[in-house]
């Protein structure tokens, strides 16, 4: 994999007399990966993001984008920022225009795209964050959560190659948080490198491939996060806590005299590891395009008496919004948990998420559970 970003001994302070925020930071972000940036408040996560986007020029060290040092010229920065979109922690800092659609179009228009293309991107981004009906609504009339969605849509409309999200789930209700993580996953599947900084350790624990823990202006840990969480002193020193799933796995493994590895990251993996399942229920995966979703739903569900169904992905959820499905959010985990319990389940999803489902099957296999999956084409 190519290194999409590399920080080499980067030092940054806001003013010459201010304390050092990034203190000789070294960091490598690989292309197409899911990355979580963790750390206590004030540890430099946002500053690091601004350094990656060229907003902050480090006093020492070098920032590389695809192995090329970032050029702090107008053209160099424009080229860098055409590839990188940022969702800031506070949407009010990011939102400039009066209307929802105007603000979402701000980035694409700055890129100099054709009007039709901007229209397409704005409309798509609004639907992805469920804000289509608010297109002509003034931003002052929106709630904090809705403004956050607009900020995310503004970044999505840039169709970036690298998406940086600074605490994207802060201030959102649980359902909206799950939708944001679905969007992050979708971007990853589209080949976008996603960096998320968050204090919601449970959400990123099950999502991230790579985690980076910042402490004292440096990267204290980089890699698979279970190794970091296995050292409680280090976790507390960095101002973090271990995720519930990690704790439950560690404690029950100790009780049962089992090895803590493999580490289950979600409910179905946890149930598969400790539930001693005898046989797998069938997960019927139905990839649906938005326009055919309702027809496929009727076709598939007519012979499925009492079998629970779930939906995953913004398009499928939007298309099936009139149906009362059992699992509206985190449906991959819920349907596979049913399978581990020996029950059948139907999973409607956007076609792009097929790879996520395959990954889930592989992870269950690594735990020792062969899930029975049938894909309805």
């Amino acid at each position: 994999m190519t290194d999409i970003f590399k920080l080499e001994n980067v030092t940054f302070r806001h003013t010459p007399t201010a304390p050092i925020v990034l203190n000789g930071m070294d960091l490598v972000i690989e292309e197409g990966t899911r990355n979580a940036i963790l750390g206590a408040n004030g540890v430099g996560k946002t500053t690091m993001f601004y350094t990656l986007t060229g907003v902050h020029k480090p006093q020492e060290g070098t920032v590389y984008n695809r192995d090329v040092p970032v050029e702090y010229t107008k053209d160099g920065l424009r080229s860098l920022r055409s590839d990188v979109a940022v969702v800031l922690q506070n949407p009010d800092e990011q939102i400039f225009c009066s209307l929802v659609e105007e603000d979402i179009a701000f980035g694409p228009l700055n890129l100099g795209l054709e009007r039709d293309e901007v229209e397409r991107r704005v409309s798509k981004a609004m639907r992805d964050v469920r804000m289509s009906e608010f297109a002509r609504r003034p931003l002052q009339q929106l709630s904090g959560g809705q403004r956050k969605r607009v900020a995310i849509a503004g970044a999505l409309a840039m169709e970036p190659k690298i998406m940086i999200m600074d605490e994207p789930t802060a201030g959102l209700d649980p359902q909206a948080s799950m939708e944001v993580m679905e969007l992050a996953e979708k971007l990853h599947l589209m080949g976008v490198t996603v960096l998320i900084s968050t204090h919601d350790i449970d959400i990123v624990y099950k999502w991230a491939d790579q985690s980076y823990v910042l402490y004292g202006g440096k990267v204290e840990f980089a890699g698979h996060i279970d190794e970091f969480y296995s050292n409680p002193e280090r976790v507390y020193r960095c101002g973090l806590l271990t995720p519930s799933m990690f704790n439950m796995n560690r404690d029950i493994s100790m009780l049962d005299g089992m090895d803590v590895a493999p580490y289950p990251r979600n409910c179905c993996e946890f149930t598969a590891k400790f539930g001693k399942p005898s046989r797998s229920g069938k997960v019927l995966c139905v990839p649906v395009e938005e326009e055919e979703a309702l027809g496929k739903y009727e076709e598939v569900m007519k012979d499925m008496n009492g079998v629970p169904a779930g939906v995953y992905g913004p398009d499928a959820r939007f298309a099936l919004r009139s149906k009362e499905l059992e699992y509206q959010f985190d449906a991959i985990d819920s349907c596979f948990t049913d399978a581990v319990r020996g029950k059948d389940a139907v999973l409607f999803h956007d076609p792009i998420y097929s790879k996520t489902i395959e990954e889930q099957v592989e992870k269950l296999k690594a735990i020792g559970f062969d899930a029975d999956v049938e894909v309805v084409r």
Binding site: R81, V86, E93, Q94, S98, F106, G107, N110
Partner: protein, 270 residues
């Protein structure tokens, strides 16, 4: 204001056309000495505002207009009592230490200024209630207004409201902590909120600069839905109406004498 403007029935009218129309009426109101012209322009301004807001003028705007009229009344009252010493006085005396000498000329002059000002306020409000800032900025760009001015207008407009919102949040927060418990405490709370807003404005400026850079801002706020361009009809109607009103002003200079109208009420002999 933008919220009101986007819901206006005049939002799709060409912003530059509206601006030309409003300016033409305001200028003609200023260059004629007849009271009839500012009265007509005032009536046009009120009608446009009523049409724009569909007769639903928000309370805050009505209060703003009321406040403006009150200030103008006070100002014009001052003008009316400072007439020329050489003219015969309608009313002479003292208010505290201020010498009052109201003449027919100063009284009429005060009314003329009052109507000109009120007409200007209503016309400008009719324009502001129907023209979102991005449209106004686009209109300025189309007349080659320097980008430094245009983009600053957009930025100031945007951040003024954010700061106002922040100020109100601080006041609410102060109220939650008994910040208005007594006159001194209330003054301290207001002072604290003002200082806090000022400090926040600098912090916000820094953060917003970074956020704008992240979104490829290049010194220009693009407009997604372009407003209509000004047609020749706008120019013809605006200039035509202004010329017509100018001539109306020339022939109606002595039609309305406010001093004579009020004379029976105050017992003035004119």
């Amino acid at each position: 204001m933008d919220e009101l403007a986007y819901s206006s029935r005049m939002v799709n009218w060409a912003p530059l056309g509206k601006l030309l129309f409003i300016l033409a009426l305001m200028i003609v109101g200023l260059i004629t000495d007849s009271l009839v012209v500012p009265m007509i322009t005032f009536a046009i301004g009120i009608s446009l505002m009523a049409y724009s807001t569909n007769l639903k003028i928000p309370l805050i705007l009505a209060l703003a207009i009321g406040e403006a009229i009150l200030i103008l009344l006070i100002g014009c009252g001052m003008i009316s009592i400072m007439g020329s010493d050489t003219d015969p006085g309608l009313w002479d005396g003292y208010i505290l230490w201020i010498k009052v000498h109201m003449t027919e000329g100063s009284f009429n002059q005060a009314w003329l200024i009052f109507f000109r000002a009120v007409a200007g306020v209503t016309l400008m409000l009719a324009f502001a209630c129907s023209t979102p800032i991005p449209h106004l900025a686009q209109a300025f760009r189309s007349i080659r207004c320097p980008p430094e001015i245009t983009e600053l207008i957009v930025l100031i407009y945007r951040y003024a409201f954010l700061l106002l919102e922040r100020f109100l949040v601080m006041l609410d927060a102060a109220q939650c902590r008994l910040g208005y418990n007594g006159a001194m405490t209330a003054m301290r709370s207001y002072g604290g909120a003002m200082a806090g807003t000022f400090i926040f404005s600098m912090e916000l400026a820094e953060k917003s600069e970074a956020a704008l850079a992240c979104r490829n801002y290049d010194g220009y706020f693009p407009v997604f839905r372009m407003p209509q361009k000004m047609s020749v009809a706008w120019a013809v109607v605006s200039i035509g109406l202004a010329v017509a009103l100018y001539f109306v002003g020339q022939y109606t200079g002595d039609w309305i004498n406010m001093a004579k109208l009020f004379a029976p009420l105050f017992g003035w002999s004119i």
